[in-house]
Amino acid sequence: MFTKILIANRGEIAVRIIKTARRMGIKTVVVYSEADADSLAVEMADETVFIGPAPASESYLIADKIIDACKQTGAQAVHPGFGFLSEKAEFAQRCKDEGIVFIGPNAGAISAMGDKIESKKFAAAANVSCVPGHIGEIADTAHAVKISEEIGYPVMIKASAGGGGKGIRVAMNRKDVEEGFPAVRAEAKGAFGDDRIFIEKFITSPRHIEIQVLGDKHGNVVHLFERECSIQRRNQKVIEEAPSPLLDPETRAAMGAQAVALANAVGYDSAGTVEFVAGQDKSFYFLEMNTRLQVEHPVTELITGLDLVEQMIRVAYGEKLAFKQDDLKINGWAIESRIYAEDPYRKFLPSIGRLVRYDPPAEGEHGSSHLGAYTVRNDGGVREGDEISMYYDPMISKLCTWAPTREAAVAGMGRALEDFHIEGLGQNIPFLAAVMDQDRFKSGALATNYITDEFPGGFNGTVPTDFQTDVMTAVAASMHRVMAARARTIGNGLAQRGVREDWVVFVDKQERTVTLVDGAVGLDVVLSGEGRTLSLTETDWRPGKPTYKGLLNGRAFTVAVMPAAEGFTIRHRAAKAQVVVLTPHSAELHKRLPAKQAADTSKLIISPMPGLVVSIEVALGQEVKEGEIVCIIEAMKMQNIIRAERDGVVKEVGAKAGDSVAADEILVEFA
């Protein structure tokens, strides 16, 4: 076996590879850029090599530097991770030429699958089902109709040179083709000066399902079943799972067999992924093959018990696969949520910065979702205090849960997301939790347009459910009780009335009267007038702690608690509320105070992040259309373009080039 390998990557995946290498007794070398000098991967590696400035194009993407680093450290092999050089055939070839083993497929397989047209040809030759369509010349409308009918409706009529939503039309029937074909052709001619058209099958509500394959250098290829990655936002995968809730054993076997056939056809000899688009009717068509380890590989590892990185290293060394297809079985269900540094409440704008607090759930088995035990795995490459920089992918970590059933794995993911506490930057945990709580997601009715379907107006959090309102009520009352009791301890001799145990709790506007009673094991919050008692046990909160964990009537929860000027802001999953605990008299006065109108911010363009104003692109009195650039703000050396969210006339400009602005500072106001 290798004694030392180099990891030509960074962050989470570098850490991931180090862990496996360590277990296998292989020493690791990590290369790093200026921005990663103090990273976790660098801390964990046995040796490190500095390879230049932060931008990947000046460091991680330069093959010469990686090869030099191998030579300098005597690393026998390179694991490219994903991204960067992982799918560059020239790099794989270069390694080979230099006598360094590339832990990945051979260069020929990479280049064969790297070309979209080439890969489709290979696929067709290997009898892999491709999207039915017609690529040749289409003479006229009648010809188009004939082709469409051969393919079967619905079909997509697309200009060859098309893009950006132009020159595309979906036809549901013959009439649509008769109208659409000439229209698309005219549009294509006008827009692109190229009226070549092709027609292919249109898949309604498609799903993204991919097959993990694994080959060795001895001609053996197996598949490790599928992953479904339909939950995507702007073609970026957000939630993945294995297996897919769509597939039955027959479809799975058919897809697996096709993926293996394709891998065989290109002489594939490492871990790779064959991506398919699938219809809700379980039809499936080849999309492309990724000749590398996938980001979402952990879900496959969780259901197969295999370590894909270990397998990649072994086959790269020349070992034969130690198992055959028949030895592989699906065990349970695994879900992965990608935790991104982006603000879901602000149109998922990147939100880079410092991880002021980073406290992920503990890895390993957890006994306490209401649907049973689940296992947590968190692939991260950061520590508290680290920076999510603008130079690389804004992913913070990959949170996975595993359980015997999908239902339990989803419930476990919901709990694991509750237990994940991050401060300092915007992150998508509330959004991910909202998805876990949706009936449609729970039912497995996924599609690549899931997010646009389910969050048409963007993400604004969810309204607290009854359970969540109960949690917030009980948590706030119990925190208030601890603080009130402690506050009394600074008294200096003046008699105080007894500790009050009846309080009024407002969860946003919802008002409840509660009486607090010490229960046998925890705190009982008696809801007056509802004939119910909320029993709070196994709590771990103390003043200053940003999360509150416990059981409410036996059901586990963790909420984020932030002290506010009055009461607390409490968030459970995607539901957030202001919670205030008051004496009955104060509650009356509280109700008397009119709710303040939230400032109308629709006319304001506010800074989404702290930064330096590079330029203001509008002037007083200027008419601005939605989508026009208003201002450019530099944050962390990265320019962020702020665009108008509506039409308007500029009434006031609140900042000028060179100003530093805080988050939420007003940049421009419309009349």
Partner: protein, 510 residues
């Protein structure tokens, strides 16, 4: 007997009604609570004892003899905040607009004097229309009596003013003499002369909100130390503030049971200072990570944000925190920042509250605006305040401590008790680039040579060890242990004895 008791109750009920139900409804409609409702929120439940409920004015001019209300427009008395004594007066806008008569003033002076005598804070809630013009000079005399008590009590007991409605003319000067002013957003304003007079005199059209609203004073003028959303929030936050403060200069700051660990390390602080020396970071993160339970009561949050001031606790004991904020104007000291911090330091010193200073300061702000504005004298205020302070002073330099600003920020030379530096500290006369351009003026134009000189200067001075070698820094500490080290230092300073020479008073450059 019963009828006598009934009569008392009847009179009390009448007094509690203030200006009557109609006016109370009008007060509520404006989003404001009444004088008594505010007291209910401010004090511990049932702890308020009212004085002078039956006081009425004695004016008989302009038909005033027919306009008498028991209490005369201000509710006064005492109660407790978490069991600790405080005196309160709360202006009742429903009674003749809360205007100030001689008797009204006498009521306030009574609680002011009791508070000073008994060593307890005075909290004034303002919501009034100014002088009672019908009383003429008597009203002015009343104001002056209150001012006099404000001044005599200054530095003896904490005095807190909350502006919860109009506060204009003579009314503004009592709050101005107190230690802290808070305002309620949208419902309060404060100015010496109102929009009408402004219009007549200067022909300037301005709304009350834009002239003296909470946002103006908390953000622009610095008159207010904070602004709150509504009456309830304001009262809750004043209670929170009082919990930090000693009741008078005759007692030590309060110690409260803490749930935090005095030995707690914060590993993430080791990476707080960015590798790039010109990159800002958030000093508040450091504050929140080293104080008890991340509980920090900020004073002047929206004003001169380049310096942070406020109260926190360390191992249960109150401390005053002063910290440069590199995120705003690189943490530079300018006129506003110097004034803000100087006043805070003097408050802490007056009331025996130890001061923890966190330093990352590139110097004083250059420019005509600052110099014309008198930066020299304003900057000297902060220097003066730190120098004269005899309370325990613990300082941590996190990054830059350049030039005169290094001296000012609670340096060893100004009797800093314990002065720490992080290894990232750069204690020098100025940044390397500027220094090199002066020392090696001859090399200007030779970029390569200059860069080499700069590197040399950095190597030599951009660290804490030169200062440490002279004993100006007591120790260079690891960031993650900052909380532990500060707490240990403060404990060691618990019985510090240090006095300044006798003087009638000092002559701080006002």
């Amino acid at each position: 007997m019963q009828h006598i008791l009934d009569e008392l109750e009847k009179r009390r009920d009448q007094a509690r009604l203030g200006g009557g139900e109609k006016r109370i409804a009008a007060q509520h409609a404006k989003g404001k609570l009444t004088a008594r409702e505010r007291i209910d929120l401010l004090l511990d439940e049932g702890s308020f004892e009212e004085y002078d409920m039956f006081v009425e004015h004695r004016c008989s001019d302009f038909g005033m003899e027919n306009q008498k209300f028991p209490g005369d427009g201000v509710v006064t008395g005492w109660g407790t905040i978490n069991g600790r004594l405080v005196y309160v007066f709360s202006k009742d806008f429903t009674v003749i607009g809360g205007s100030l008569s001689m008797t009204h003033a006498q009521k306030i002076v009574k609680v002011q004097q009791m508070a000073a005598r008994n060593g307890a804070p005075v909290i004034g809630l303002f919501d009034a229309g100014g002088a009672r013009i019908q009383e003429g000079v008597d009203s002015l005399a009343g104001y002056a009596d209150i001012f006099m008590e404000n001044v005599m009590s200054s530095g003896v007991i904490p005095q807190i003013s909350v502006i919860m409605g109009p506060c204009a003319g003579g009314d503004v000067y009592s709050p101005a003499l107190t230690d802290f002013i808070f305002m309620v957003k949208d419902t309060s304003y404060m100015f010496v002369t109102g929009p009408e007079v402004v219009k007549t005199v200067t022909n300037e059209t301005v709304s009350a909100e834009d002239l003296g609203g909470a946002r103006v004073h908390a953000g622009k003028s610095g008159v207010a130390d904070g602004a709150f959303e509504n009456d309830l929030e304001a009262m809750t936050q004043v209670r929170r503030l009082v919990d930090f403060l000693p009741l008078s200069n005759r007692e030590k700051p309060p110690v409260r049971e803490t749930f935090d660990d005095a030995m707690r390390d914060e590993p993430s602080l080791d990476s707080l200072i960015p590798t790039n020396p010109n990159k800002p970071y958030d000093m508040k993160e450091l504050i929140l990570k080293i104080v008890d339970e991340a509980d920090f009561f900020e004073i002047g949050k929206d004003f001169a944000k380049n310096i942070i001031t406020g109260f926190a606790r360390m191992d249960g004991s109150t401390v005053g925190i002063v910290a440069n904020q590199p995120q705003v104007l690189a943490g530079v000291l300018d006129i506003d920042a110097s004034r803000k911090a100087a006043r805070f330091v003097r408050f802490c010193d007056a009331f025996g509250i130890p001061i923890v200073t966190l330093v990352d300061v590139p110097g004083f702000m250059p420019g005509t605006k600052q110099e014309y504005g008198g930066l020299i004298k304003h900057g000297a205020k902060l220097l003066f305040a730190y120098a004269e302070a005899t309370v325990p002073k613990v300082t941590v330099i996190t990054r830059k401590a350049y030039g005169g600003a290094y001296d000012v920020m609670s340096s060893k030379h100004l009797r800093g008790d314990v002065n720490y530096a992080w290894p990232t500290a750069e204690i020098a006369v100025m940044g390397a680039k500027g220094a090199v351009e002066i020392i090696f003026r001859a090399d200007i134009g030779d970029a390569e040579k200059l860069a080499a000189r700069e590197a040399e200067y950095k190597e030599r001075f951009a660290n804490p060890f030169v200062a440490a070698s002279r004993g100006y820094i007591d120790d260079v500490i690891k960031p993650h242990g900052t909380r532990r080290r500060i707490i240990r230092s403060l404990k060691s300073l618990n019985h510090k004895v240090l006095t300044n020479p006798w003087k009638k008073h000092d002559n701080i450059p006002l």
